[in-house]
């Protein structure tokens, strides 16, 4: 079935087109992004159960972008009066109050050209099997309750087992003088998470998720995830501390994705180029990884949690080859940064919500597959670790440092997994060293879209990342 576009937004569009026309008399460029996204969050454990109609992407609201004399200004609101003349006046009045402050403080403008606003009409409703707003929540609560019960009985020492999920039916509409774009799609994610005490009394976690650009049907995959949890927890409970040092490593697709995301995801967000905050700007056309390192970025790359058709500035989604056989080719770019850099936007202008500013943000960030099997890769390791379990990562575009925290590493000695597990594992290093050290990549690849991504320490958006198993060297602690 099609994910139907919001009837509310359709009903609002004539008024908002009027508002664009009114504001157009005072500004050189006007656009409006409107959103109406509904969904749910569910979390079921032995100790606590909750259901909510809210999650990180549910929202209903509007943001107006205007341009005059080299400056872009925005006004976000979610109460829409009937009289668009009055709304336009209040928008202008409030922005004028800000302009007064700028005048009083002697603030200079970072002069930017006007957006082109090329004509385009688009209406896309993506396929889904089910809609979150029509989901049988009783069935889902019963299913998750049974899974949680199963988890605490089968997972060693489990204190609790939490099954959680969220699903959102997103509708977005972009209106400017020459563009009228509408899209709707559904994305869903779910996670199994269990925790148990080690012999030393430390709480150990085991977790894994499923996700996709689809309805709640993807949550059926959590049964397979749960089936693997007892083994993962056993490994976590028997884990030891790692001896700090440099090792040969094999990253599973989740960790490969984490590296892609932190290394040349954030590292080539071109709004950072505008501020001279990214070393990547100086390395376009230069080698940043081994020949086996090819990386793509774009909402078109994968039907994931961020597989939109147009971004939050009305730019069509793309598929950018960032790194081609080790050579950095280009970055990703929002529309205003593209104007400032004299390049084209890549469909990566995203907002945390309608009330937040656009930044250049990632969508799907993915390493290409290689030609090796995982078995061949393990057999090639003299002493190192197979790394799994994304906990967190942090970017450093200016200096190309990287921090990835993983839940566990499986020791490999003389080409064989020894059965010893270390946890947690902190990987740090210099990005070109890490990517330059890639010597093998597996033929398969996976993309994960659970959780969120911040810019600095804020602006949380949905992203997905992944790749094949990769073999390289890294510093672990």
């Amino acid at each position: 079935m099609k994910a139907p576009f919001s009837a509310y937004l359709d009903s609002l569009s004539p008024s908002l087109k009027t508002l664009v026309g009114i504001l157009g008399k005072s500004f050189e460029y006007v656009s409006i992004l409107s959103t109406d996204s509904v969904g749910f969050t569910i979390s079921i454990s032995q100790r606590s159960k909750s259901v909510s109609g809210k999650n990180m992407t549910t929202e209903r609201g509007n943001v107006v972008r205007v341009y005059r004399n080299g400056l872009y200004s925005e006004y976000a609101f979610n109460e829409v009066p009937e009289n668009m003349e009055l709304l336009a006046e209040s928008i202008k009045n409030e922005l004028n109050r800000q302009f007064d402050i700028m005048a009083k403080t002697g603030t200079r403008i970072y002069d930017t050209p006007v957006l082109l606003d090329e004509p385009l009409e688009l209406f896309v409703e993506k396929e889904t099997q089910r809609l979150p707003e029509e989901e049988d929540m009783k069935r889902l609560v019963d299913q998750f309750s049974a899974m949680s019960d199963c988890g605490v009985h089968t997972i060693p020492r489990a204190l609790d087992c939490r099954i959680s999920a969220s699903s959102t039916h997103i509708s977005k509409m972009f209106i400017s003088e020459n563009r009228f774009l509408r899209q709707s799609y559904v994305y869903t994610e779910g996670t199994c998470m269990a925790y148990a005490p080690s012999d030393a009394g430390e709480i150990k976690l085991a977790y894994k998720g499923v996700s996709g650009c689809c309805g709640p049907e993807v949550l059926d995959g959590l049964n397979d995830v749960l089936a693997n949890m007892p083994k993962t927890m056993e490994e976590m409970l028997s884990s030891e501390k790692i001896v700090p040092g440099e090792y040969e490593i094999i990253t599973d697709p989740g960790i490969s994705g984490l590296i892609a995301h932190e290394a040349f995801g954030h590292g080539v967000e071109m709004d950072m180029f505008v501020k001279n905050r990214a070393l990547g700007a100086e390395y376009i056309g230069k080698r940043v990884g081994s020949d086996l390192c090819t990386m793509h970025e774009g909402a078109l790359c994968e039907e994931s949690v961020t597989a939109f058709v147009f971004d939050d500035e009305g730019t069509l989604a793309g598929d950018v080859t960032e790194i081609d056989h080790g050579i950095l080719k280009t970055g990703i770019c929002d529309a205003l940064s593209a104007l400032r850099l004299g390049t084209k936007p890549t469909g990566n202008g995203k907002r945390e919500s309608f009330s937040h500013k656009v930044y250049t943000r990632m969508t799907n960030t993915i390493f290409d597959s290689g030609e090796n099997t995982l078995e061949e890769m393990i057999a090639s390791v003299k002493f190192g670790y197979l790394l799994e379990g994304t906990e967190s990562g942090m970017e450093d575009p200016k200096h190309w440092g990287i921090q990835c925290i993983m839940s566990r590493g499986y020791e490999i000695k003389d080409g064989v997994l020894t059965g010893k597990v270390v946890s947690p594992v902190v990987m740090t290093g210099y990005v070109p060293d890490l990517l330059g050290g890639i010597t093998m990549a597996s033929t398969d690849r996976e993309v994960e879209g659970n959780g969120g991504c911040g810019k600095g320490h804020k602006e949380w958006v949905k992203v997905a990342d992944g790749g094949p198993y990769l073999k390289t060297k890294a510093r672990l602690g």
Binding site: K54, A76, E202, I203, R277, K357, M394, H399, H457
Partner: protein, 424 residues
């Protein structure tokens, strides 16, 4: 709208509920160097509702949702009906909503224009040099107004300011340029403190230009002297929460010592009802409970657990609330005494993290000062890692304290024998 939603809750036959209306007016200014990249206004309202329904066998169901201010009557009825149905599916042990009347006092006036102007002026006046300067900054100022009402008649309306400024500073030596990231949160703009903190960041930035790779080290004491230390003290506060205890993620119940054989400084952590210029400086929590001053941990022993009303009731904890602001008392030694002998002081991590569930501590070193044998080396790269349960018995912290938004903590904290993964 508030009244319309209430009317429809009653029409559903729901007798236990919480409803809040939040209005946020925000002014935002984004600068590249000192030139304005973009200005923004936000005017956003939301209605959040939680409906409860008694279920068989002593359970209480609940579900929540958000209603848009643009919702029609039929939208509201559909949303509430869905929420009320979902409440029947969620079976948790019974608990009661707050029922004590509140007196939140007079509503504050918030002048977001004046606060924003102060931030812009403060940033314009930061002392920069040709080699150490501001790369970019983003100013966020909000006036938050919350009206809360529950079915027991507990009601309040509060208004408070919250602000954030994200600042990137650069230092350069010829073609070699580095940056440091800072994010300051507060109620309003404290111009002097902001200028002091940014000028300190500029000094650190200058040092980052001349770092050497962190050497391989044995286990080493690490000193925390920035807002990263707040993560350490939040771990203590979280472990004392009813939410963590009920979920079996903590056993820090009232009367227990937080560790055995504590030979370092013994932590005393207090919740405070008001903290000047905190972005959480309001007298009530999100569930309609009054904030109070109370000691949660005294000399390393749990004196009172805190948390959401539901979990507190399950554990028999009286008179509690959701802590927003906390103060940690200073330790026995001065900052100067804490800074003795060999240690690594890390003033810039990629992202310092303390896992509140597992207690793992970790962060990549972007800028550190390695004090060894009377010498100081400025280092970068590698990581710090450890486990809170290992460091609590011997941790030390200074008698001097410093405020970071909603937390007052010792100015320096020394965690002993953390693992350092060096670069060379």
């Amino acid at each position: 709208m508030f009244a319309r939603i209430l009317e429809k809750i009653n029409a559903l036959g729901c007798s236990i509920w919480e409803l809040s209306e939040t209005t946020t007016r925000g002014w935002e200014f984004y600068f590249i160097r000192h030139e304005l990249d973009q200005n923004r206004v936000t005017d956003v309202k939301s209605f959040n509702v939680t409906l409860y329904r008694p279920l068989e066998d002593g359970f209480l169901g609940s579900a929540s949702g958000e209603i848009s201010p643009s919702a029609t009557d039929s939208d509201i009825e559909k949303s509430l009906s869905d929420i009320y149905f979902q409440a029947s599916l969620v079976k948790n042990p019974v608990y009661q909503l707050n029922d004590k009347p509140l007196n939140p006092g007079e509503m504050k006036e918030v002048d977001i224009a004046e606060i924003a102007r102060n931030f812009i002026s403060a940033m314009t006046n930061v002392s920069e040099t040709e080699t150490e300067d501001i790369n970019s900054y983003e100013i966020f100022v909000k006036e938050n107004t919350v009206h809360f009402l529950n079915s027991n008649g507990v009601e309040y309306t509060i208004r408070y300011p919250s602000s954030m400024i994200e600042v990137i500073v650069n230092a350069r030596n010829g073609d070699h340029e580095i940056e440091l990231y800072r994010c300051f949160r507060s109620g309003t703009c404290d111009k002097d403190k902001l200028a002091h903190d940014i000028e300190k960041a500029l000094r650190y930035a200058k040092d980052r230009l001349i770092t050497e790779p962190t050497p391989k080290l044995q286990d080493m004491d690490v000193i925390f002297s920035t807002d990263d230390a707040v993560q350490i003290y939040k771990y203590f506060a979280s472990k004392a929460s009813a939410d963590m205890i009920y979920s079996k993620l903590s056993d820090w119940t009232c009367g227990k010592d937080i560790s055995e054989n504590m030979t370092g400084d013994l932590i005393t952590l207090k919740a405070v009802s008001s903290l000047k210029n905190s972005s959480y400086d309001f007298p009530v929590d999100e569930e309609g409970a009054a904030m109070k001053d109370c000691t949660l941990i005294k000399n390393g022993r749990i004196e009172k657990n805190w948390g959401h009303r539901r979990y507190c009731q399950y554990l028999g904890i009286q008179d509690s609330f959701v802590v927003q602001n906390f103060v940690v008392e200073g330790g026995r030694k001065s900052e100067e005494e804490i800074r003795s002998g060999d240690y690594l002081e890390v003033v810039e991590y990629s992202s310092f993290q303390v896992n509140t569930m597992g207690g793992d501590v970790a962060g990549e070193i972007r800028l550190g000062y390695l004090h060894q044998n009377g010498n100081v080396r400025i280092v970068s790269g590698g990581s710090v890692s450890g486990q809170m349960s290992d460091v609590i018995p011997t941790m030390e912290f200074s008698s001097e304290t410093e405020q970071y938004n909603n937390a007052v903590i010792p100015r320096v904290t020394r965690l002993k024998n953390l693992k350092i993964t060096g670069v060379v």
